[in-house]
Amino acid sequence: MSDDPKRQTMIPASGSVAVRASTSSSMLAAPVVRELLAFIIADETYALPLRSIREILKVPPVTGVPRAPKDVLGIISVRGRITTVRDLRRLLRMPESPTDKHTRVLLVEASEDEVIGLLVDRVLQVYRLDEDEVELAAVVGGDMSEHVMGVGRPRRPLRVDEDEVSAEDEEILVLLDPGPLLRRS
């Protein structure tokens, strides 16, 4: 089934970085760079640690699960493995929007034995941020939610299609912590 074009892994626009957990193991060792996958939900830019992301899928047909929590969109089969898909908009209490050609499902390692699909509006690119480009929630302090790890301020501009990002857009990535995020319900 893996050669099914509809389900093929899509590499983000920057294309140069393979989305594989093993490639980013270096980020544990030295506090130099963080590798992050940036994406958009409801016009805001978020990012998840690249090593937590297994795969990026175009949206396959999702089977709804009656009685499931509200943010659960349903289940899909990823090469024979039943995977739960959650809507990141609903998870972050944001208004829903219909899926379009940019909508993607990120397969995120939720725990040791479960991979969860997260529905996002569009995938941007992989960032490698230096330590001084990241403000950790612990440092920023205040009213940040548990699932927000911190804020990233890349020195380079975002490389989205020019027509969608105007010059004065502030380049801020909200860094999400997959653990607390997926424990939310």
Binding site: K6, P61, V65, P66, S77, G80, I82, S111, E114, V115
Partner: protein
């Protein structure tokens, strides 16, 4: 590294299971006063092997513990310590300790080795004092010198038990000695215990050898002679005090060394007992014996392979994918067939695809078969607990097991362990009375706990039955009233069977005193939930004063089930066919409303209906025709109303992810191909839910009147 670690765990687990089985046999034998030396040897070998591999993989505590236990076992098999219930307690405690050390997340401190060593010390002190000297045997010193300590012990034991000892002289051809010896052992097994065999001096003309076999037997001498001599040349002599005939001393002296070079020696006790010269014969070949024990345990595992269950799951997934490919090919074949020119080609393709399908089915069955394990594995574990619990509570319990060979999917066996353990603890704690009470009630002081398993169609039935005090409906109802589980109105009308079912209600527990066995609040409702989750049901029968029986009915396999595909509100659902009785067209005119609930009359009995679209809060679709799928669990039935039937299909059922574990009503999901996924209904669970909500509603209606 972790693979190796898993490998160790699996092997250790196997050894521990065998150990506890053997200990139970020993326990039985000890009670009957007939302890087989082989059994102690078996246990000794198991512990020895465990010590070895534990040391190899760095499980120091386990290894140390096995070491102390090994010492005790050595004393036992050499007769330095007599086997008593106290000794058995320590042995069981040891096996329990091994289990704890191997348990998930266990650290090295899970067991206090010092404590354990002290326990061993205590029982080891009670040495066997009734010594019998072998001098009474009239055996030549040179023979005594080559006997191992173990062999001496066996001679001594037999002497003190008054079992007659014999010497059998047999002549074997050197070329066939191995098989001859095996045959002899086989023949002797039922009538005598072979203590040792030594090459004798007299024999040895050319290519033949004489062996002196020392054996003990209660069988009359002439009968014994007949059985043993079946192979031909053999001469039987009684030896020892009671011996009628003079024993020739020289006969037992091994042949001189110079006889040996280049000769094949008897190898069935590898390596062969080397014929020692009298002056160096003082050291018993203890070392060699231990080696042969290892060789044995290695051989016994050589023809099996241990496989991680996840690998089998993976193979099953692949088979599922292949099934999808097969149906895709079938669809394409249909399209080709529509083209007249390609019709012949389509027929050939169809034939090939059918062949593919057959092999795929075989493959599927093969994988399922590999996953099957006998329930005996689980029963052995439970037997250990039964003994322990019974002893802790001063109850006499005899376990009767039937159908241990019944096979069930490995996953089901794993999941069954907790529910069965709970039922058994309940049976001993609440069910079986203390010996005194039993005698007063005119029952034998020993209670009987039966574990019966058998296959019934594509289900496996497991019964847990005790002949204890049984349950009292009245008390159950009172307890339920006190706990507010039951209303007075409902209590007034409750049938005795329904009263029994009360024990499955959450929060129900009849005993106020909390024992370490049961009564911890989590109880029968958890048992029921666990079994329902496996697609099974549990029924209870009890009669006050004479006993209780729980009957668990389970599907044989979890992985592949036959299912009825249905459509509800535009979605696909699968209903396991094992729960489906029939499917009928819904005759709208026949639907009646009873107490706000829709029912139809089906062949004279009332069938409650449940509209799945409403139950699942789905937007109903317009449809002229609807169907009723009649599902049954035990005696209870519900008709689920669906929009369309899509036929029957074998599906590979897969678990929903952890994040959906709390969602009730679904047993899993299945891949239908074309990226379509259908939810599989948990028919027993839904049935329960629907009937319960109806009962609650009725109850509410009644109290409002």
């Amino acid at each position: 590294m972790s693979d190796v670690h898993d490998e160790f765990l699996a092997e250790a687990q196997e050894i521990i299971e065998a150990l506890s089985r053997d200990l139970l046999f020993l326990d039985q034998a000890q009670k009957e006063g007939n302890v087989q030396p082989d059994l102690i040897n078996e246990v000794f070998r198991g512990v020895h092997t465990l010590k070895g591999i534990a040391g190899m993989f760095g499980f120091q505590t386990l290894s140390a513990m096995a070491h102390t236990l090994e010492d005790l076992l050595d004393d036992l098999r050499l007769g330095r310590v007599a086997l008593s219930q106290e000794v058995l307690d320590v042995l069981f405690e040891g096996v329990e300790g091994f289990q704890r050390l191997l348990g998930e997340g266990a650290d090295e401190e899970a067991v206090d080795v010092k404590d354990f060593a002290q326990a061993i010390e205590r029982v080891s002190k009670k040495r066997d004092s009734g010594e019998v000297t072998l001098e009474d045997l009239d055996l030549d010193e040179s023979v005594l010198a080559v006997l191992t300590e173990y062999e001496e012990h066996r001679l001594r034991t037999n002497l003190s038990q008054g079992t007659p000892l014999y010497r059998l002289r047999v002549r074997f051809s050197l070329t066939t000695i191995d098989s001859n010896l095996e045959e002899l052992k086989e023949r002797a097994k039922s009538v005598a215990e072979i203590i040792t065999y030594l090459p004798s001096v007299g024999g040895g003309d050319g290519d033949e050898i004489d062996l002196d076999v020392l054996l003990a037997s209660d069988t009359p001498a002439d009968e014994l002679g007949e059985v043993l001599a079946a192979g031909g040349d053999a001469e039987l002599e009684r030896i020892g005090r009671q011996g009628g005939r003079e024993t020739s001393h020289e006969a037992l002296v091994p042949p001189p060394l110079d006889d040996a070079p280049g000769r094949p020696m008897p190898t069935s006790r590898p390596p062969a007992p080397e014929p020692p010269a009298p002056e160096r014969g003082a050291a018993p070949p203890q070392q060699q014996r231990d080696m042969s024990a290892d060789a044995l345990s290695l051989r016994s595992v050589a023809n099996t392979v241990r496989v991680d269950i996840r690998k089998l799951d993976h193979l099953m997934n692949v088979v599922g994918e292949l099934a999808i490919v097969r149906s895709a090919v079938a669809r394409i074949t249909e399209r080709i067939r529509a083209n007249d020119e390609l019709r012949q080609l389509a027929i050939e393709l169809h034939r090939v695809n059918r062949g593919f399908e057959r092999h795929l089915e075989e493959l599927q069955e093969g994988i399922l078969d590999v996953r099957m394990v006998p329930l005996g594995q689980l029963f052995d574990k439970l037997a250990r607990i039964i003994r322990q619990v019974a002893r802790e509570h001063d109850k006499e319990v005899r376990l009767l097991v039937t159908g241990a060979e019944t096979e069930v999917d490995k996953l089901i066996v794993e999941e069954l362990s907790d529910p069965l353990m709970h039922l058994i603890r309940n049976a001993i704690d609440h069910g079986i009375e203390s010996p005194k009470v039993r005698e007063l009630a005119g029952k034998p002081s020993e209670g009987i706990l039966s574990l019966n398993a058998y296959q019934k169609g594509n289900h496996v039935v497991i019964e847990v039955e005790d002949d204890g005090t049984g349950m009292n409906d009245e008390m159950l109802v009172q307890a339920a009233l006190r706990k507010g589980i039951l209303s007075q109105e409902a209590a007034d009308e409750i049938t005795s069977q329904d009263a029994l079912e009360l024990i499955f209600m959450p929060g129900f527990s009849t005993r106020s005193a909390i024992t370490d066995l049961s009564g911890r609040g989590v109880g029968m409702d958890v048992v029921k939930t666990n079994i329902n989750r496996l697609g099974g049901v549990v029924d209870v029968w009890s009669e006050h004063g004479s006993g209780t029986k729980f009957t668990i009915t389970l599907p044989v396999t979890l992985a592949i089930i036959s299912a009825l595909l249905v459509r509800v509100a535009g979605r696909d659902f699968a209903i396991p066919i094992t729960s489906v009785q029939e499917a009928i067209l819904l005759d709208r005119a026949a639907v009646r409303t009873v107490e706000g609930r829709e029912v139809i009359s089906l062949r004279g009995s009332t069938l409650p209906l449940c509209r799945l679209d409403r139950l699942f809060r789905l937007l109903p679709v317009q449809s002229d025709r609807r169907f009723v799928v009649v599902c049954a669990v035990g005696q209870r039935r519900v008709g689920f109303v669906v929009d369309a039937l899509d036929g029957q299909q074998d599906i590979v059922i897969k678990a929903l992810g952890k994040s959906l574990a709390d969602v009730r009503g679904f047993a899993g999901a299945t891949d239908l191909g074309d990226q379509r996924v259908a939810l599989v209904l948990d028919a027993p669970g839904l049935l329960e839910e629907v009937l319960r909500s109806q009962e609650l509603q009725q109850l509410g209606a009644e109290t409002h009147e």
